[in-house]
Amino acid sequence: MQHNGSMKVHVECCGAAARWCGAEELSLDLADDATVETLLERLSALHPELARRRDRLAVAAGETVVPRDHKLTANERLALIPPVSGG
């Protein structure tokens, strides 16, 4: 649903990001010109643990890592990728 120039996006909080944000999945209303940067701004304002790692996070849409200036679209599904520790 898009109205009044805003849109909903869905965020999967991967790994420790689920703890920092207090949820595995979030849905947010953002202005319809929002970018990845806008999203990180919003989340960082709410979640200090996330804010601390903001420069070390990646954001993915599906199989693709998207840059900070990626324009979000209505109902887009994104993933917050904290620093990785596999192996």
């Binding site: 991967c14 790994g15 993915a60």
Partner: protein
Amino acid sequence: MTTGNLRPPRLRPGALNLAEFLAQPAPPHCGALAVFAGTVRNLHDERAVTGIRYHAYAPLAEKRLAEIEEEGARRYGVRLAVAHAVGELKVGEISVVVVARAGHRGEAFAACRWAIDAIKRSVPIWKEERYADGAAEFLEGNPLRPVSEP
């Protein structure tokens, strides 16, 4: 997800079984097989670990694991197969496997080493360690980087 047509997924629930990755006969032109397996250790920074829960962002993790196989094959002229576990693993269980088959040992070792390093830096997977005292913590990790780095 980028899984090959008939091959098993590269991201799998539960501990990996190394034998499964070695069951195939060696291709006749390959004289060298190098394998790396990572297992859950009982200690981390002197804290007693009882197990690790591996989390992954599956769509990108599968794609990156496939890219590592392709990029390794291209760089070293080898056949590479990689896999990573997700979910709960106990101490001693295998979380990651790299298998490199090459004409000679130099390329096999180089590709195997490169692939495990690439997995650790380029695949969205996270370790949540479980400690003997009941606590659980995510390791801090390193920012995700592209597969195609040295």
